[in-house]
Symmetry: C2
Subunit: 318 residues, 2 copies
Amino acid sequence: MIENEIISLIKNADRIAILPHVSADGDAMGSSLALALALKKLNKKPMIYFEEEMPSIYGFLPGRELVRIYDEKPDKYGLVIALDTGDMERLGKRAAIFNDAGITVNIDHHPTNTQFGQVNLVNTDSAAVGEMIYRLIEMMGINIDKDMATCLYVAIATDTGGFRYSNTTPVTHRITADLINNGVDVSYISQTVFETVSLPKVKLMGKAIENLELFENGKLAIIKITDDLLKSVGAKEEDCDGIVNIGRNIEGVEVAVVIRQRAGGELKINFRSKNYVDVSVIANRHSGGGHKRAAGCTIKCGINEAKEMLIKEIREVL
Amino acid sequence: MIENEIISLIKNADRIAILPHVSADGDAMGSSLALALALKKLNKKPMIYFEEEMPSIYGFLPGRELVRIYDEKPDKYGLVIALDTGDMERLGKRAAIFNDAGITVNIDHHPTNTQFGQVNLVNTDSAAVGEMIYRLIEMMGINIDKDMATCLYVAIATDTGGFRYSNTTPVTHRITADLINNGVDVSYISQTVFETVSLPKVKLMGKAIENLELFENGKLAIIKITDDLLKSVGAKEEDCDGIVNIGRNIEGVEVAVVIRQRAGGELKINFRSKNYVDVSVIANRHSGGGHKRAAGCTIKCGINEAKEMLIKEIREVL
């Protein structure tokens, strides 16, 4: 069993580096912190390297003292563990740490994982890497304390969209039951991670709703976001994430589109569908890509021209 | 054990009426439908009476053929079971069915329950009555099929705010694991119940954001909603539910207030706080009530006058 091999590597190691993927999300961060806290209990010397600063909403996570933002290559690590990382590219500059390691381990749940480690534990049935780390910590015979439980809870809750995505399994809920049993503050974490929104983002949502237009008997929702609009509310590019869901979540809407006009005139298009339209087909037509229910592409033309073109294309599949 | 007493009453009954509380929510509806479906498996004749029509977002719930909207008092039932109902008043007009029953059972989780049944099963540790019905169905030796699991999942997921409220326990998650094992479509239900919003409600949210004002260094958010504003977006009174959370969820906000001006000039005030302010104190000052983090009151004065007064009062506790 690969888990046992990894545990034996850990037991024989001293300094251990943990590498989540670039732009670490809740699962990447929570899994890394939980594993590092567990390794401390075994008197190991773990260190987590992030590519960027941690987003402020995750500031409450225990174990932050074990995190370094990557600056220059540290001394060689005997064991390096990549977490939630599908391929080497997703390690960014920290690939230098990975390539310099005594031995490398790759723990992940992405179906596209390239098995880039010397030892690879890839479980695509796991909703989150947090589930895999939970199991590993249990197998090492370490009691999951409140701090580890908090990190694992964040990992699992975020990667399942708060237990709402189809990747949520009975195992997800059974593990979560145990984590809450170990002291997780469910309401504080949920409020902080899922409900807190910055003022510019809220204002952007307001403007997006103001601009929202419905077509095709309310089955198609289109939102346009220009640079001027972003500036007018002090919002950043990343605040546009998720705006497309405002349209998709409206009763009766099947396809939602966000047309984001960027400096230089390029249009970034974001598609979402609810039940039956395959939006990846439309995105592909414009050299984009994605999944049936979420896709995107880039178009070079005027914003209104793009709108009319997309209405026509989507009309045919509604 | 009271559960056994209830099971024996069920086994000896033929026609059984189930009564959720007025304005039935997800837990009241889901628990009622799951229990009725289970009783069918025992070859009983269950019927659920609702006070009002079911909200359309719950239209997918199995067992709807066992629901009647109360019109006039039906023939006497040997056994009547009230679900999720704190007191007789919450039965509305259907108290007539309850009062006419051979024997009455009251299954609930509200701490304020008045023990109004002949047999009372009140478990305040349960996050949802759905948890209690799950246990009862298991104790009756009935296999929980996909339909019952779907109803119980909706009951539990809604009363825990999607597993986010502090009432969510390890038991909640363990039961949910089992329900998913029995075939619940997590992603469809989550999308339908938690994410679908009507167009007027989305537009009202947009207007609310437009009107939102911050005071006291961004710690106090106030939103004003007039009748004209409601009309302008075609929204109904109930669409105002939850608008106060838009303010509360903003980063840095501690207290959020919605001032709802109603025809006749009366102001309905809604308070929410995030971490430390006890808003029930302010609501009480104006003859209102509620909890530390959620309270309300009614004030008779001009909308701007009320705003200035509330800013002053809240400033002192921020």
